[in-house]
Structure formats: C-alpha cells, structure tokens
C-alpha cells in the first residue's frame, strides 16, 4: 500500500521522505528501488515523532515546502499542487487540509464525523484555533513554518500541539479542501473512534506539562 501511495506522489514530481517508525511489516522492502529518502526509527516513537523526524530531514535537504502525507493511501496526491498554489496565493505559512470544507470528496463515516467534530472543539480549547477538520494529517508548511514548529508530542496529541504552535508563533494559516479516501486498509491502520479518549488524555497532559 505504501508503495502505491509513494509512487503516486513521485509521479507528481515531488521529493519524498519516508519515515519508518520501527514498523514490523517490511515497509522498507515495499519502497526499495524507488527514488525516496528512507529514515528509520530504531525504536517505535509514534506518529508525531515520525513527522518531526521527516521535517528535520527535509530541512537539512533545504526543502522549500513541507507536506505531511499519510502513507496509508487516505490522502490524494492530486491535491498537492493546488495546495501549494493556494499557499502562495494567500501568502500564508501553513495550509491545513480539510475533509469538511465544501469541495472536498470524502467518504467519512457518520460516527467518525461526530468524533472529529468533538475533537476540533478540544483542539480549539487548547490552541485557540478553530479548524473545520483539526485531525487531518495532510498539511503544507512553508520553510519559515517548518523552522518555527517543532513537535514534541510523540504520539497522538501532535495535531493539538501543531495548532498551539501555529498560534503561538503567529503563523498565518488557511484551510484547503482535500479528499480523504477511507479504505478497509486505512481503516485497519488508522485510529479507531475509541482512541479518542486516549488522544483526549494525551492532549490534556500536554497542555498541563508542556
């Protein structure tokens, strides 16, 4: 699955950093031979940590724009060019992908919508930023945003941390409608609704102890 995702993005002509968070299912073999940078955590650290590792590496390589893109095929590489154009036109630092803006093609389930809707209020309470979709992993960062934002929440509270840092560093941001294709594969890989409680707890701890 990751090979398909990576290949599609490669076809659009972007550089890819694959961060393998100590996976046990042979992710490296799947992308071997493709022109990508491959980084592996020796220990499983969590999604937030993996994102930061990828961003750090891209910074070292002198990237101009940074896109975070889930590997399970739920995002659509066709959205990338429009997103970058949008960032340049609006002169913002961060573009958040949203599956709930008009123009997004998304097959999100009813329950997931309710959970996400609840979550965005939580993230609003933490950060003061209200997004239509605050748990979307598809984001675009400008160089200055990538330099100012450093995620320390290794696991699942990083969307809240990301928003809080966006607000604190006074970065300009907008939302952009993106497609989300849920498949049985991505549903198996991704978060369950019941993980919401765990995330809520992590966000709370983050807010108290940061």
């Amino acid at each position: 699955m990751i090979r398909k995702t990576v290949t599609e993005v490669l076809e659009k002509g972007y550089n890819i950093v694959v961060v393998d968070d100590c996976s046990k299912d042979g992710s490296k073999k799947q992308v071997t031979g493709l022109p990508v940078y491959y980084l592996r955590h020796r220990v499983n650290m969590g999604q937030g940590a993996a994102l930061q590792t990828g961003i750090d590496f891209a910074k070292k390589k002198g990237a101009k724009y940074f896109i975070t893109f889930d590997a399970d095929g739920q995002h659509d590489s066709n959205d990338i060019p429009g997103m970058i154009e949008f960032l340049e036109k609006e002169k913002v630092d961060v573009v958040f992908g949203s599956r709930f803006l008009p123009g997004s093609k998304t097959n999100v389930s009813r329950y997931r919508s309710v959970a996400l809707n609840f979550g965005r209020y939580i993230n609003f309470l933490v950060s003061g930023i209200m997004l239509s979709d605050s748990f979307n992993g598809f984001r675009l960062l400008s160089k200055s945003a990538a330099e100012k934002i450093t995620l320390t929440e290794n696991r699942m509270a990083h969307p809240a941390e990301f928003l809080l840092l966006t607000a604190e560093k006074k970065l300009k941001y907008r939302e952009y409608p993106v497609a989300i294709h849920y498949s049985d594969y991505s549903r198996g890989k991704g978060l369950k609704n019941r993980d919401g409680i765990k995330i809520l707890f992590e966000i709370l701890l983050y807010k108290i102890f940061r």
Binding site: T32, V36, Y38, A49, F57
Partner: protein, 113 residues
C-alpha cells in the same frame, strides 16, 4: 498498654523500610540521622496514635488518621507530578537520540550504498 495487631504490622513495615533505605543509601551521617528520625517518629505515632489527634485538632481536622490521609494524598499527588514531568523529559531526550540516529542513517533507496 495494649498493643494491637495493626500496630505490630506497621512497626515491622516501618522498620523494614528504614532498613531498606539504610542499605540503599548508607552514605553519610546525615542520611543515617534522617532515617533514624523517620523511623522514630513513625514508630512513635504508631504506638501512641492519640498524639496525632492533638496535632489534627490544632489544624482543624477531627482525627489524626484523617490528617495523615490528607497529607499522604497530597504528597503522593505531588510525587506523581514530579515523576511524570521527569518521564516527559527523559522521553524527549530519548526521542532526540533516536531521531538523530535515524537522520544520520538516512538512505536513498534507489542508490546502492
């Protein structure tokens, strides 16, 4: 003076903790004095529990046992907070370590090394 079962049990527990601490920390004179004091005060309150009532009344709590419970909860809560923030710091250091390692070992998969 009647000695109850709980007094025997608590005295033994306190003594064991004191011995354990002494073995682990046996460094300076100061530690020994501190452990000795802890031991003495603990045993004293176990053997004469009524004395804690006086302290409790003085601060406005009805029973010595209640006062002890309140302070113990506060102390444990404080300890958990300290431990958790320590844990977070350790995790951040560890993350940094793993991240730097992975940045050093980055590969380009279409090129043979």
């Amino acid at each position: 003076m009647n000695i109850t079962i709980i007094q025997v049990v608590l005295t033994i527990c306190i003594a064991l903790i004191a011995i354990y601490m002494y073995i682990r920390l046996r460094s300076g004179l100061f530690d020994v004095i501190l452990i000795g004091l802890f031991f003495a005060v603990g045993i004293f309150f176990v053997l004469f529990p009524e004395t804690t009532n006086d302290i409790a009344h003085f601060v406005g709590v009805s029973k010595g046992a209640n006062l002890f419970l309140y302070t113990a909860i506060l102390f444990l809560f404080f300890l958990i907070l300290k431990l958790y923030s320590r844990l977070r710091r350790v995790e951040q250091k560890f993350t940094e370590f793993v991240r730097n390692k992975s940045l050093e070992e980055a590969e380009e998969l279409d090129k043979k090394n």
